[in-house]
Structures are given as structure tokens and as C-alpha cells.
């Protein structure tokens, strides 16, 4: 594929690096793959076999046009048609909070993939807390830029919430990464300090 690539978004970059660490020829399912940036990087750099699901027809078309295998569909419904453990990795980047049932989505991720990567904006970041506490209104921040009435984020989640959910599901959190202003930060006080989190899980 002879197209120039822009650098991956910060959360996708750590996921791509982590998957590359497992060696080539991995099967990856990218749920909500957008324009296929992660898939293209994985196929080009890591020799992975990447598949995608994307709900937006215009984005699917861009993926197909760059030679990627992407199915237009709704992850809330269509994940069910993939066989158990069909993939080494299932990736859900910045989509969990838009799922109809994030808990069932997590079940599906760990069913179709040996491992799952989940990234999401942390609703307990101090700026979000401050906006709600002092502003008294649903926060609109750089991490959550859309107003309450038009946001796709129907299930806001915090880092601690997600850890609780993983524990309930008996999923193992193998690795985690935290970000503020698109830079990696230490895990200390992450539920206050991180705008975004990425978790690597296995069942």
C-alpha cells in the first residue's frame, strides 16, 4: 500500500506497539475501526491479519478503498456472528462508552478474542469532576468535547468503574496505559489524573 500514513492516535499507537510485541501473523478484530488507521498499521508494519467493523458507510468505503477487510455493521449486534476465539486480539478504541451495554460488549470482546484492548475517556478526570462540581453542568472538555444532548457517549465510565467491571467479569487486566493531554502518564492516581485509559485484558 503506497500511501503516506499520519501518526497513529496516542491510544492506537500503544495498542499497535503492544500487538507488535506478540510477533507477526496475529489475527486482529478492530471494532469501530474508523478509517482503518490501526488496521493499516498492523497489516503494514506487523504483518497482522486485521479485520474491522465500522458503522459509518463513508468510513467503510475508505477502508475498502485502501484494501482493508471491513464490514459495515453495528458492534452491539454483529459481534455475535464471529466464532469464539476467532482472533488473537479484539480492539475497542474509544467506543465502549457508546455501547448499548458495555458489560455485554466486554463479554463479546473476550469471547471473540484471546485478548482484548479497550480504550476510553475517563469521566473521573479532575477537569471533568471540576466542571460538574463547580459548573453544575455536564462537562464539555477536550476529552469529552460534545454537549450532553448530542454526544454518542451514553455510558460514561471512569477508570475505577472499568476496573470493577473487569473484576466482576473475572477478566485479567494484563497491562494498562494512561494519558493526559495525549501524553503517557504514570498510573499513580490515574482515576484523577488520566483523561484516557487503555487496558489490555484476557479472560
Amino acid at each position: 500500500m503506497a500511501e503516506s500514513r499520519t501518526p497513529l492516535r496516542f491510544d492506537l499507537a500503544v495498542i499497535a506497539d503492544a500487538i507488535a510485541g506478540y510477533g507477526p501473523d496475529r489475527m486482529v478484530l478492530d471494532i469501530g475501526c474508523g478509517d482503518g488507521a490501526l488496521m493499516a498499521a498492523l497489516q503494514g508494519d506487523s504483518g497482522c491479519d486485521a479485520r474491522g467493523i465500522e458503522i459509518d458507510a463513508a468510513l467503510v468505503e475508505r477502508c475498502v478503498a485502501r484494501g482493508l477487510s471491513v464490514v459495515q455493521g453495528d458492534a452491539n449486534i454483529d459481534l455475535a456472528e464471529y466464532p469464539d476465539k476467532a482472533f488473537d486480539f479484539a480492539v475497542l478504541s474509544q467506543t465502549l462508552q457508546t455501547a448499548t451495554r458495555p458489560d455485554l460488549m466486554l463479554d463479546e470482546l473476550l469471547r471473540v478474542g484471546e485478548r482484548a484492548f479497550v480504550s476510553f475517556p475517563n469521566f473521573a478526570h479532575w477537569r471533568t469532576r471540576a466542571a460538574l462540581m463547580f459548573g453544575g453542568r455536564m462537562p464539555v472538555t477536550s476529552a469529552l468535547p460534545v454537549s450532553w444532548y448530542e454526544t454518542q457517549n451514553i455510558h460514561h465510565v471512569t477508570i475505577d468503574d472499568f476496573r470493577d467491571l473487569a473484576r466482576e467479569k473475572r477478566a485479567v487486566i494484563e497491562r494498562s496505559w494512561f494519558f493526559a493531554r495525549e501524553r503517557a502518564i504514570s498510573p499513580v492516581g490515574a482515576n484523577w489524573r488520566a483523561e484516557f485509559a487503555v487496558f489490555q485484558l484476557s479472560s
Binding site: V60, E61, C63, A65, R66, G67, S69, V71, Y82, P83
Partner: protein, 367 residues
């Protein structure tokens, strides 16, 4: 119908075995090619035509003088780029543009008529595979088809999985539904109710089942369009008159249009071919061929990449049918892309200008 000799025709080396158990002896397949075949023979793209289509995908139709049926898609610099690909398009067996069909002479030198064996989509593809063998093409870069052409592409991928690297299926289905069969039966009964049909033995007579064939085409044509498209194009507008005539003339533009479509069709198509090809489509059920599970059909297709495209206003082969195919391909771990495109014109959308479709087709074949 005027029979014009095809420009290229291939006599199959052996007899063609059919799903019915019968054999087609001495069959010929008429075809056209566009673009150069690479030295390593790796750049061939087979385009499969729809029910009433033919091999003239990107060249003037000899009977009608009209441009090729997919000229906007196939040609130099077009989405299926003949500067890069060697495009092959063949008339299916059972049809009437030069390939062996019911209008062809049987072994006794008389037209087959209804003595022609009932064929299936897989039989058509068997003929295409035999043609490819004759042309020395072992493996296709890709196979592309819309509507019935998509059924052939799926059948090729399922039954000859080593033959195609890419499989592009547009506005199609893996099986004919009760509704699909019902509409075809209306068409067949219209033909067979025409006294000119004479049990299919009309080739040497002056009378022809043109009225029946025209009605069949009119009914089918409605299924290729959407209500929205019909409303936009015709509404309730009247044809060359100020008021309704209180008669059964074509008062409405839509009536006039359908009559025109119907009678035009009889100039280029054989009524018996219409019976045989619609029957083949009705018999098509790719899952049934493979033990009742569609996923089984694609179990050996892992080396191909698939792209399935549907249109949101296509009620003949709606998106749900395409999703069945995608589901089966996913269940077997095949590499598949799927997109539902938005277009106002129903099933016919795949033949009409559509920039997104162009990009998907080009991207899939080149990516």
C-alpha cells in the same frame, strides 16, 4: 429477436455436465475481452452478467447499437481499469447472445426450444470455468458480478475456490426468496400464456411470444426500481395528454415507460432464454448446495478476499440478504468487506452512476 453472430465464441472442449444429471453436448460460449492479458496471466478479471445481460459489458451491443451495459465501470482509467486488467465477460449458457441456449440448434439440427435442459447458476459457472480453461487462465485476479452476476461470483468462490483471488458481489443474494420466485413465476406465466409461445417451439414460425415476454419484462422491471425512484421519475404525470382518457391507453408516463421497456426487450431477448435463466435463479440456494449451511459453502474459500455491496433501496435483494453472506463468511474466518450504499434507484442502482460504488470497486480490486 435478431440473432447477431458474436464476435468471439469458444467451443467447449468436452461435454458440459449439468446439475440436472443431463449433459450439454457441443456447447459454445460467446465472450468479449478488454485490455491486455499480462504475460504471467495474473491480471484477468471475470465479469458475470445479470439475467438479461450479455458479454458486451463495455462495447456496443450489436443488436441494439447501445453502449455496453457497464461502460461507466469498465474501460481505460475506469474503476475496473482495462489499462491494468484483462477483463473477460461471457454470455452465460441458456442465454441468447451467442452462447448455447434454447434458441441454439440441438444435436438434430433443430432449435432446442424446451428440449434444452434446465440449468442452474452452478451450470452457468461450470461453463465459465470451462471457458477460462480454454483461454488458459488458471486463476483470476478477481470475479465481479451484480445481481445474477453476483450469484455466479459466489458460486465460483464456493465451488472453484482456487480460481479467484477477489470476489466482488454487488446487489445480490445467496438464495432466491419466495418473493423473488413469485415475481419470476409471473413473468414465466405471461410468456407461456402467450399463444405465440407454442410450447417453446416458435423459432420457425412467424408468431412469437413477444407480448408475453414484454409483460414479463414489465413486471420484472418494477422490481428493479424503488418506489421513491418511480415517484421521482414519473409521479402521476400523464403521457402527452392533458387529462386521463377514460380508456386503457397508456395515460400515465409510468405505463408508457413500462410498455416501451417491454417491447424494446423483445427486440434483443429470447423468450425461452428468459424462462430458463429465471428458473436457474429460482433454483439458486448456495446453502442448500452445501448441506444447508451457507458457511459450509465458503469453508474452502480462505485464500480469496470478498467484498459484498448492497443498496439501501434495493428491495429485490435487500441488505439483509447481503448480511447473510457476510455472516457466513465471518463465521468461516474469510476476509470480507461489506458496505450498504445509499442510492435512490433500488436494485438498478448498481448499473447507474454512483461515485462511492466506483471507489469501492476500484479500491477492492486494486487494494
Amino acid at each position: 429477436m435478431n440473432v447477431t453472430p458474436p464476435t468471439r465464441s469458444h467451443a467447449l472442449a468436452g461435454d458440459l455436465p449439468l446439475d440436472s444429471g443431463q449433459t450439454l453436448v457441443g456447447a459454445r460460449i460467446a465472450y468479449e475481452t478488454y485490455g491486455e492479458l499480462a504475460e504471467d496471466r495474473s491480471n484477468a478479471v471475470l465479469i458475470c452478467h445479470a439475467l438479461t445481460g450479455d458479454q458486451y459489458v463495455a462495447s456496443t451491443h450489436p443488436a441494439t447499437g447501445k453502449p455496453g451495459w457497464w461502460e461507466r465501470m469498465v474501460g481505460p482509467g475506469k474503476p475496473i481499469d482495462t489499462d491494468r486488467f484483462h477483463v473477460i465477460c461471457a454470455n452465460v449458457i441458456g442465454s441468447c447472445m451467442g452462447s448455447t441456449g434454447p434458441a441454439s440448434d440441438g444435436p438434430d439440427g433443430k432449435p432446442y426450444g424446451m428440449r434444452f435442459p434446465v440449468i442452474t447458476i452452478r451450470d452457468m459457472v461450470r461453463g465459465l470455468v470451462a471457458l477460462l480453461g480454454g483461454l488458459g487462465i488458471e486463476r483470476l485476479h478477481g470475479v465481479v458480478g451484480g445481481s445474477m452476476g453476483g450469484m455466479q461470483a459466489l458460486s465460483l468462490a464456493a465451488n472453484w475456490p482456487e480460481r479467484a483471488g477477489r470476489v466482488l458481489v454487488i446487489a445480490s443474494t445467496a438464495r432466491h426468496s419466495a418473493q423473488n420466485i413469485a415475481f419470476h413465476e409471473v413473468g414465466r406465466q405471461a410468456i407461456m400464456a402467450d399463444p405465440g409461445w407454442a410450447a417453446g417451439d416458435y423459432y420457425s414460425s412467424d408468431a412469437r411470444p413477444d407480448n408475453g415476454l414484454a409483460v414479463a419484462r414489465m413486471a420484472a422491471h418494477i422490481t428493479y426500481l424503488s418506489e421513491e425512484g418511480l415517484t421521482r421519475k414519473f409521479g402521476r404525470r400523464l403521457q402527452d395528454r392533458e387529462a386521463t382518457s377514460f380508456s386503457f391507453d397508456a395515460d400515465f408516463q409510468v405505463e408508457s415507460y413500462l410498455r416501451y421497456q417491454g417491447s424494446g426487450f423483445t427486440q434483443r431477448f429470447d423468450a425461452n432464454s428468459y424462462l430458463y435463466i429465471t428458473r436457474a435463479m429460482d433454483y439458486f440456494d448456495l446453502a442448500e448446495e452445501h448441506g444447508g449451511k451457507l458457511a459450509n459453502a465458503f469453508a474452502r474459500s480462505r485464500h480469496a478476499r470478498f467484498c459484498i455491496v448492497s443498496f439501501d433501496t434495493d428491495w429485490l435483494y435487500p441488505t439483509t440478504e447481503s448480511r447473510h453472506i457476510v455472516h457466513a463468511l465471518n463465521a468461516t474466518g474469510n476476509r470480507v468487506s461489506f458496505v450498504e450504499l445509499s442510492a435512490p434507484n433500488g436494485h438498478d442502482s448498481f448499473l447507474l452512476p454512483h461515485e462511492q460504488l466506483d471507489r469501492v470497486v476500484h479500491g477492492f480490486l486494486n487494494g
